[in-house]
């Protein structure tokens, strides 16, 4: 069905009893041209771009739980394209441009809100690093503004500017950054892909790969039976190593837990997204009024989808350093998601050494903002067997060749990215 002001009015007049399913609850067919493993944002976006941009409509998305039950619904909903290294800069801007037209493309309200992302700086050295990143963005056609202290005071007057240890000196602002409603992103892609004929199959866990005599992947074994496939794409985030192991692959990835937090609702306070530069703390305010925030990953391998107290304390300390007045706001909810931390902190979108199997992984804790871009370039790779130019550096073999994309400069230590 098509959503519009008229469909809303009709449904309102009939007591909201006649809404149809947002997407079809499909049962698996024997065979598809492309099977995507993972019904999160990236998998669903890939399916939609395959159907809408690349003309491949015989596609299934297999999800072991319900769609959006993993990281798609666990992130802090931030979208931005303020990256500094070749490979990342162009790719995340491609993704940002797709965010800007997503709701029209999908006929779905994803509450994309470009209310700005500001990274605060607290030292001369950090200002210089941010100026460099802002300049990198601007020569690549991306908006960036370096704000001085007076401009930050005007925009966010309630910060603790008198913090003796970490004085706020200014910030790097991307006005086109902001937030989006993460569940609606998954639902929107599911809705639009399903309309184009994509089968979204929930409660369908992949348990193995079907290979022919040459080792080519020709399908998957699942909890709902064998499903044949021309090509298989993996978009399973924190489960990447486990799924790849079924095809005999070891990946340059560790799975780590990242926590996120929501406070009780308060009156409108935070104008956009803010980050504390002297620690690791990022915050925005949801339309319901809750402060949505997070910080570092816990730092140890985990598949548990829950974290521990030291990081919780560290994150809240970051918030208190910026805004001491939130100290009496109560924490409402806290949860964890499993991040596919790569060895250089950047993603991998590439063919694998196994014929017929394609990999989309290594998003670390920055996958949400990449959702539309990731779907587009992964669909490009699956449809044409060659990388999109903006994803050409996200190769699986870059760790062997040395062409790593290490935005934070931490080396091959995934818990430090």
């Amino acid at each position: 069905m098509k959503y519009s002001i008229f469909s809303l009015a009709r449904a309102a007049l009939s007591g909201h009893k006649n809404w149809q399913r947002t997407w079809r609850d499909a049962a698996p067919k024997d065979r598809y041209d492309v099977v995507i493993i993972g019904g999160g944002g990236h998998g669903l976006a890939t399916a939609w771009f395959l159907a809408s941009e690349f003309g491949i409509k015989n596609v299934a998305v297999l999800e072991k739980g319900w769609i959006g039950s993993g990281n798609a619904g666990r992130n802090t909903t931030i979208i931005r394209s303020n990256y500094g290294l070749p490979g990342n800069t162009g790719f995340y801007e491609l993704s940002m441009k797709l965010w800007e037209r997503m709701e029209q493309d999908l006929n779905y309200n994803a509450m994309v809100s470009q209310r700005g992302v500001i990274n605060l700086y607290h030292s001369d050295a950090q200002r210089d690093a941010y100026a460099r990143r802002g300049n990198t963005m601007r020569i690549n056609g991306i908006d960036a503004e370096l704000l001085d202290l007076a401009a930050v005071r005007k925009m966010i007057p309630f910060l603790n500017f008198d913090n003796a240890r970490f004085p706020v000196q200014g910030g790097l602002l991307q006005r086109r950054g902001g937030t989006a409603r993460h569940d609606a992103v998954a639902w929107g892609y599911a809705h639009a892909a399903s309309e184009l004929g994509v089968d979204i199959i929930q409660n369908c866990e992949v348990t193995g790969f079907v290979r022919d005599a040459n080792g080519k992947v020709t399908g998957v074994e699942t909890s709902r039976g064998r499903i044949g496939a021309g090509k298989v794409g993996m978009a399973v985030a924190g489960s990447s190593s486990r799924v790849a192991a079924m095809a005999g692959l070891r990946l340059p990835i560790e799975s780590h837990v990242l926590q996120a937090f929501v406070s009780e609702a308060i009156k409108p306070l935070i104008p956009g997204v803010m980050t504390f530069g002297a620690g690791h703390f990022y915050v925005s305010q949801s339309d319901k009024g809750g402060l949505v925030f997070g910080g570092d990953i816990d730092g140890y391998n985990s598949y548990a989808q829950r974290g521990n107290m030291p990081v919780m304390e560290d994150v809240c300390e970051g918030g208190m350093a910026l805004m001491p007045m939130i100290g009496r706001v109560r924490l409402l909810r806290q949860w964890g998601g499993i991040m596919d931390m790569s060895m250089d902190g950047s993603p991998i979108i590439d063919k694998t050494p196994v014929d017929g199997l394609y990999l989309n992984a290594g998003w670390c804790y920055g996958g949400f903002k990449a959702t539309p871009g990731s779907g587009f370039v992964f669909a490009h790779l699956l449809a044409r067997d060659e990388s999109h130019e903006e994803a050409a550096r996200f190769r699986l073999d870059r760790f062997r060749s040395g062409a790593v994309i290490d935005e934070k400069g931490q080396g091959a230590q995934p818990n430090l990215h």
Partner: protein, 91 residues
């Protein structure tokens, strides 16, 4: 998560720093590129029980080998990591 250090007793997680899977061993100086690549970049990323290296920086500053389940965070064993310290303990 609390870790029972063999030297200091049970301590809270914030005292410890994580290195990672204890299984990969640094290849010999003349090792092939494949062996070095494997050691530096590839991981088993075990979902289940794994031996790990942890550093007790907020306590005795010893390296520890912790056996922990990555699905549940349950710790089943802690012992000194291989090296001079472990040999001292064995005496």
């Amino acid at each position: 998560m609390r870790i029972t250090c063999p030297f200091c007793g049970e301590r809270e997680l914030g005292e410890f720093t994580y290195l990672g899977d204890a299984k990969p061993m640094r290849p010999a100086p003349g090792a092939s590129e494949d062996e070095v690549y494997d050691y530096v970049y590839l991981r088993d990323n075990i979902a289940g029980v794994m031996d790990e290296n942890w550093y007790h920086g907020g306590g005795c500053r010893a390296w520890l080998k912790v056996t922990r389940n990555t699905l549940t965070h349950e710790i089943s064993a802690v012992e000194p990591a291989a090296g001079a310290g472990a040999r001292q303990v064995a005496k």
